[in-house]
Symmetry: D2
Subunit: 109 residues, 4 copies
């Protein structure tokens, strides 16, 4: 993943864009990209959306990942370690015996 | 990254949650998590947010990555390849000579 | 509607919160509230969501409206006029004969 | 406000779009529009955004209001009453003596 982050940072720095990339604006952009991804599912069933908009979904998903990795990089967060730590935390919030097959939030289980 | 996706999928499947994880609902959840990440920057400067909320930012960022990887997995998208392809596309949308140091969108350059 | 905006502004000013309410942070908050509204529909069908979460949906919808009106107020935008103008614009973007019964975006019609 | 909602519903119904307007998809669209509004503030200070993008901000804000009113209408929620009720609730969550001049969330006050 380091190599990938390196590629993204190079793209950014060769355009001298780091000046805009404070964590708050990166978080804004990540949220906007997630919304553009969601736009591909607007007014459609899940299946219809994937059939009609697959390529755009792939591109917007990539944008989400790019901003998420840029933000990790800016905050010196190791994304893989952060995911592993969060899974551990989620295992406590959602114990299997309570959460199995349920669509409830942890505070409603 | 495959190992990481494996871990996330195991967490999900041991709770029998795949039934909820159609792409549309995953895209909704990704957008909600990106918004929860952004909430850590609400009413604050970027620096103040990072100082006060670093741990929560790390956790929400992990949630964003988890849902992005779950959605890739569900759609058989290789996240690394998708990122590389998107960078290539962005290089065309934002040629260095036009985009250098600019905060404009590609259609305004 | 003026009276309603007056009430909202009084709530805000009696807490001395206007200092935080620059348009950018209001737009962030509006987006966060819209996402909290959407959270009530996460992993559920539309009907199930409304049945289970009606009260919370009503509250989050009110929050969305409150921030939208605060932002209008901050920018001296008349919300009623803005809506009327936007409907006119949408009538041009989505002419009835093309848009009738279609879930496509205007640039795909 | 009733007249305004009437206008919006007429625009919708003359295009036979109500079939898509279940509450879940309306909540998705509201969230997408709030994000498009926020996009006008991306990579810019609040003041710069308003100067450069005022017209677009006004239009996106109108879209947010339109979807919020459509959703109220679909759920038989009176938007004015919902706002008044929410302000009352917020007055309890944020008592003046605790919340005065603070940018903290109610659960951190």
């Amino acid at each position: 993943m380091d190599e990938l982050i390196q590629k993204i940072v190079e793209f950014r720095d060769s355009r001298n864009w780091r000046q805009f990339h404070n964590p708050k604006d990166l978080a804004i952009s990540l949220s906007i990209e997630a919304s553009e991804l969601l736009e591909n599912f607007q007014w459609k069933t899940s299946d219809e959306s994937v059939t009609v908009n697959f390529e755009r979904i792939q591109e917007e998903l990539a944008d989400v990942l790019i901003y998420a990795l840029l933000l990790s990089n800016e905050l010196n967060i190791n994304p893989e370690q952060a995911i592993i730590d969060k899974i551990k935390k989620n295992e406590e919030k959602y114990p299997i015996e309570k959460a199995y097959g349920s669509n409830k939030k942890y505070n409603e289980l």
